[in-house]
C-alpha cells in the first residue's frame, strides 16, 4: 500500500473538478459554525487546577468558598515621614474597601488587640484596639511593644508594611491591584485579549511564510486553514462536548496541529512546481501526503485525545481539543486547502533550504554507533531518574515559594461550644509547633484566649460563651467565621517553602482527626497539583505509549514503535530534567507545551518514517533515500517547527497570559526539531542496516 504513490489520484481529480463547491461549502459551514458558537475564554492558571479538584469538590459539598488573597508590600522609604506613610496606607485601605468583593484586609491598622480598659470611666467593657485611627506615636509605640502580635504585618524596623487583602473573587483582586500599580490593567475581557493574540499569531506566521517561500500565498492559505480548524474545533467542543469555557492556552494546540498539516500539503505542492505543472503538483501533494497525514491525525487523536477520558477538567479539555484539532486540521488540509490551491500556480517556485537535505543526508549516513549507544543510554537513565522523582516526590517540582505567605483553614461547626473551639485550638497549636516557618496564627480561639488572659489554654463552655459574645459584639466574628466554619489564619515567614508541606499535613490531619478544609485559592491549587501530578504524568506517559502502539498497528514494524517512543521521549526527558534541576514551577502551561510537542513530534516521526520506507522501496542507495526524506519531510518539519517556535516565542514576549507557555513550547519545539533532524534519521538508518524496514 505504502508504495502505491498514485492511490489517491481519483480523489485529487474529484477535488479539482468540484473545487468551487468545496470552497463555498466550506465557507457556509464555517460561517454557520462561527455564528452557532460563543465560547468564553479563560486564562488563569490557579483556576485551571482548582476547578473540579478533589479539595474544591469537597469545599463545594460543604458550601465553603475559598478566599482569593493578595499580599501587598508597602515600603517606607526615606522620601516621606512615617506619619505621611501611615496616611498613605490608610488611604490605601479606604480605596481597597470600596472594591466590591473585598472580604477582609489584614494589616497593622486592622489587627484587633484585646486589652482591658482601666481608665477613669471605670468601664468593665473589654476593649479591642485597632490602630487605624491612632496617631503616629501610638502606632509606633504599640507595634514596637507588642511586635509579636504584629509580626505578620511589619518587619522589626518598620521599614515594610504587609497588607493582606482577601476577596471572594479573582476580579475583585484584579481591581485591588490597580490601586497599587497605576500601570496595571486588569484583564477583564479574555475574549478580546484572545483575539489580539490570534492577530499576533497570524501576523508572525504571515511574515515567516513570506520570508521562507518568498510569496504571500502560503501566508493567506495558512491563515484560512488555521482559522477554519479553530472555528470548527471551538464549535464542536462547545456543541458536542459541552465545553463553554475554553482555556486560552489550550487552543494553541489547534494552531500547532493545523499548521503542520498545512505545511506538509502546501510544501509539496509548492516545491513540485519546480518540475511539474500546478495541477500535477496538486495531485502529487495529495497522493504523497494524504495517507501519512491521516495516520498522524489518527495517532494524535487517539494518543492525545485519550485525555478526554480523564476526569480532570483541564486534562479533559486538552484531550477534546487535541481530538478535534487532529481530525479537523486534516479535514481542512485535505479538502479546502487543495480546492484553494487548485486556483493558483507558482511561477518560479522557490525551494527554501534545499541544500540542507543533501547536507544532512551525507553527514548522517556516517553516524558514530558508539556515540549513538552512549546517547541512548544517557537518555534512558535520565528518563528513569525523572520518572522516579516525579512519582515519589511530586511536591519538589511544584512552586515552592508561597506568594502570599498566608494560609487559611476552615473547621466546620454545628455549634460554637468548648469542644469546637478546642479542636481549633489543637489544630492551631499543632501547626505552630510542627512548622517553624509559622510566624503567627489567629482564630476565634486565640482571640478569645487573649481576651480571657488564658493564652495557650483551652477554654471551657462558659468562657467560650462569654468571650464569643464580645467577639461578636466587636464585629470580629465576620473575619473569624465564614460559611458555618471557624477560620484559622496562618502566617508564614517571608519566602517560605513550607506552604505546600503544611497543606499536605493539613489534609492528613483532616483524614485522621477531624474535617479541616482549605479556604484559600492558593492552597487549593497546591492540593490540586499534588493530586493531579501523578495522573498528569501517567496521562502523558500513556499518550506516549499509545502513539507508539498505534504506529505499530499501522506499520506493523516494531522498530518504528521503539523509534516513536524514543524520539517522543527525548524532549520530554530533557525538559523534565530542566524542570527538576531548576525547580521550575509545575503549571498547566508545561502540560500544554508538552502536549503540543508530543503532537508535533509524532507528526514528524510518521512523516519521516513513511517517507523513508517509501523512498527505500524506490531507491537502493540509502543516501538518496535519506536525501528524499529530508527534502520532502525534513524541510517541512524544519519550516513548521521554526514557524511555531517563532510564534510561541513572540507570544511569550508580548502577552502576559501566554508568557510561560510561549517560552516552554518554543523550547520544547526546538529540542524536538533537533531530535527529529539528528537522532531520528540515525535511528532509521540503524534499523534499516539490518534491512528490517524493507518488505
Amino acid at each position: 500500500m505504502i508504495y502505491n504513490r498514485e492511490r489517491f489520484r481519483g480523489y485529487s481529480e474529484w477535488i479539482y473538478s468540484r473545487r468551487w463547491r468545496v470552497i463555498l461549502g466550506a465557507l457556509f459551514l464555517l460561517i454557520a459554525m462561527a455564528l452557532g458558537s460563543n465560547p468564553k475564554f479563560a486564562g488563569n492558571d490557579a483556576s485551571l487546577w482548582v476547578s473540579g479538584s478533589k479539595e474544591q469538590l469537597r469545599n463545594e459539598a460543604s458550601d465553603i468558598n475559598a478566599f482569593h488573597q493578595l499580599k501587598l508590600v508597602y515600603r517606607l522609604d526615606g522620601s516621606r515621614s512615617f506619619a505621611d506613610h501611615l496616611e498613605r496606607v490608610r488611604e490605601l485601605h479606604q480605596d481597597i474597601r470600596t472594591v466590591k468583593g473585598v472580604v477582609d484586609i489584614r494589616s497593622i491598622l486592622t489587627l484587633s488587640r484585646p486589652y482591658e480598659n482601666r481608665g477613669d470611666a471605670g468601664s468593665a467593657l473589654l476593649e479591642l484596639e485597632k490602630l487605624c485611627d491612632s496617631d503616629t506615636g501610638r502606632v509606633r509605640d504599640v507595634v514596637t511593644r507588642h511586635y509579636d502580635l504584629y509580626r505578620p504585618y511589619a518587619d522589626t524596623e518598620l521599614k515594610h508594611f504587609y497588607v493582606y487583602v482577601f476577596t471572594d473573587s479573582k476580579e475583585s483582586l484584579e481591581t485591588v491591584r490597580t490601586f497599587v500599580d497605576e500601570t496595571y490593567t486588569p484583564n477583564r475581557d479574555a475574549t478580546r485579549s484572545y483575539l489580539i493574540t490570534i492577530g499576533i499569531v497570524i501576523g508572525i506566521g504571515a511574515l515567516i511564510f513570506l520570508m521562507i517561500f518568498g510569496h504571500v500565498l502560503p501566508a493567506l492559505l495558512s491563515i484560512i486553514v488555521t482559522v477554519s480548524s479553530l472555528v470548527a474545533t471551538l464549535f464542536l467542543a462547545q456543541r458536542v462536548f459541552g465545553i463553554d469555557r475554553i482555556y486560552l492556552s489550550v487552543t494553541l494546540l489547534t494552531l500547532a496541529i493545523s499548521q503542520m498539516d498545512f505545511i506538509y500539503f502546501y510544501y509539496r505542492w509548492h516545491v513540485d512546481q519546480f518540475k511539474y505543472s500546478a495541477k500535477e503538483s496538486l495531485h502529487k501533494a495529495l497522493n504523497r501526503n494524504l495517507e501519512p497525514a491521516f495516520l498522524t491525525s489518527v495517532v494524535t487523536a487517539l494518543g492525545l485525545g485519550s485525555l478526554v477520558l480523564i476526569d480532570i477538567p483541564v486534562l479533559h479539555q486538552i484531550g477534546v481539543i487535541a481530538l478535534l484539532s487532529a481530525f479537523l486540521g486534516f479535514f481542512f488540509s485535505a479538502t479546502l486547502l487543495p480546492a484553494l490551491l487548485s486556483l493558483f500556480q507558482m511561477r518560479n517556485a522557490y525551494v527554501p533550504f534545499s541544500g540542507f537535505s543533501r547536507f544532512f543526508a551525507s553527514r548522517e549516513i556516517h553516524y558514530n554507533r558508539r556515540l549513538l549507544n552512549l546517547f541512548l543510554t544517557v537518555v534512558f537513565v535520565a528518563g528513569l531518574f525523572a520518572a522516579y522523582t516525579f512519582i515519589t516526590t511530586p511536591p519538589k517540582i511544584f512552586d515552592r515559594q508561597a506568594h502570599n505567605d498566608a494560609l487559611i483553614l476552615a473547621v466546620p461547626f454545628e455549634e460554637i461550644d468548648a469542644p469546637t473551639v478546642a479542636r481549633v485550638a489543637a489544630l492551631e497549636q499543632e501547626v505552630a509547633s510542627r512548622f517553624q516557618e509559622v510566624v503567627a496564627t489567629e482564630s476565634l480561639h486565640s482571640i478569645m484566649a487573649k481576651m480571657a488572659g488564658l493564652e495557650g489554654q483551652i477554654l471551657n463552655d462558659e468562657q467560650v460563651g462569654r468571650y464569643l459574645f464580645f467577639v461578636e459584639l466587636y464585629g470580629e466574628s465576620d473575619r473569624l467565621m465564614r460559611d458555618d466554619t471557624l477560620l484559622v489564619h496562618i502566617w508564614l515567614k517571608k519566602g517560605t517553602e513550607a506552604k505546600n508541606d503544611i497543606v499536605a499535613w493539613t489534609r492528613q490531619w483532616s483524614d485522621a482527626r477531624f474535617p479541616v478544609y482549605l479556604a484559600d485559592q492558593e492552597s487549593l491549587a497546591y492540593a490540586a497539583k499534588s493530586d493531579d501530578a501523578a495522573i498528569m504524568g501517567t496521562s502523558i506517559f500513556s499518550a506516549l505509549l499509545l502513539i507508539g502502539v498505534i504506529m505499530f498497528l499501522v506499520t506493523r514494524k516494531y522498530q518504528l514503535l521503539l523509534i516513536s517512543w524514543l524520539i517522543n521521549s527525548i524532549p520530554i526527558v530533557a525538559f523534565a530534567g530542566m524542570v527538576i534541576v531548576l525547580q521550575i514551577p509545575l503549571s498547566v502551561e508545561i502540560l500544554i507545551a508538552v502536549t503540543i510537542m508530543l503532537g508535533l513530534a509524532s507528526d514528524a516521526t510518521i512523516h519521516f518514517s513513511y517517507k523513508y520506507m517509501q523512498s527505500r522501496h524506490y531507491h537502493h542507495d540509502r543516501v538518496i533515500a535519506l536525501e528524499k526524506v529530508f527534502f520532502y519531510a525534513g524541510l517541512p518539519v524544519i519550516i513548521g517547527n521554526l514557524l511555531l517556535a517563532s510564534i510561541f516565542f513572540v507570544l511569550a514576549a508580548t502577552t502576559v497570559t501566554l508568557q510561560t507557555i510561549g517560552y516552554y513550547a518554543a523550547a520544547l519545539i526546538i529540542v524536538s526539531l533537533l531530535v527529529d533532524l539528528f537522532v531520528m534519521p540515525v535511528l532509521l538508518l540503524f534499523v534499516d542496516k539490518k534491512n528490517a524496514l524493507e518488505e
Binding site: 471605670g122 468593665a124 467593657l125 462558659e462 460563651g465 462569654r466 459574645f469 461578636e472 459584639l473 464585629g475
Partner: protein, 159 residues
C-alpha cells in the same frame, strides 16, 4: 500630707481594680432571676446578657452602640439592661425619666445613641413606684458587687 497620699492611693486602687463580684455565680443568677422584671429588655435570643449601665456614662453608651450595631445578635441574645447610677454622673433624674416613659427601650436608645436630652430629665423626680424600682436594682447591684459601668454579666459571672 498623709491624707493626700492615702486618698491618692485609694483613687489609684479604685481606678486600677477590675470589675468585682461579691457573690458566686449561682447566687448572682438567683439575684438576676428576681431582678429581671426591672430590666429594659432588648432582643429575643436564648442566651441572656445582663448589664448594669448608666445612661449618661460614655462607656455604657459605647457598649449600647455596639449592641445596636449588631442587629443579628438580637436573635441570639436577650439583653437585660438595669439602669444603675454612677454617682459622679448624677443621672438619677434621667433614670427615673426613662423608666417612667411610655416606651423605656426606645427612649433609652435615643438618650444613649443620639445623645438626646429630654427636657426636664435631669431634674426629674420619679414617683414612688419608680423609686422603688430604682432602689431594688441598686440593692441587687450592691449585693452583686457592681462597681463599673457597663457591668456585663454572662452566665452569672462578670468578665
Amino acid at each position: 500630707m498623709r491624707v493626700v497620699l492615702l486618698w491618692s492611693l485609694a483613687v489609684l486602687l479604685v481606678c486600677a481594680e477590675g470589675p468585682s463580684q461579691l457573690l458566686p455565680p449561682e447566687a448572682v443568677k438567683s439575684e438576676l432571676a428576681v431582678l429581671r422584671p426591672q430590666a429594659i429588655v432588648l432582643g429575643s435570643g436564648p442566651k441572656e446578657i445582663h448589664s448594669f449601665i448608666d445612661p449618661k456614662c460614655e462607656m455604657s453608651r459605647r457598649y449600647m452602640q455596639f449592641v445596636m450595631g449588631r442587629p443579628s445578635m438580637m436573635e441570639r441574645y436577650t439583653y437585660y439592661f438595669y439602669l444603675y447610677e454612677l454617682k459622679r454622673l448624677d443621672s438619677e433624674g434621667y433614670i427615673g425619666y426613662i423608666l417612667e416613659s411610655a416606651d423605656p427601650a426606645a427612649l433609652l436608645k435615643s438618650v444613649m445613641l443620639k445623645d438626646f436630652h429630654p427636657d426636664g430629665a435631669q431634674e426629674f423626680i420619679a414617683d414612688e413606684t419608680t423609686e422603688q424600682r430604682i432602689e431594688v436594682i441598686a440593692e441587687a447591684a450592691r449585693r452583686i458587687g457592681v462597681n463599673k459601668r457597663p457591668y456585663i454579666i454572662f452566665n452569672g459571672k462578670v468578665k
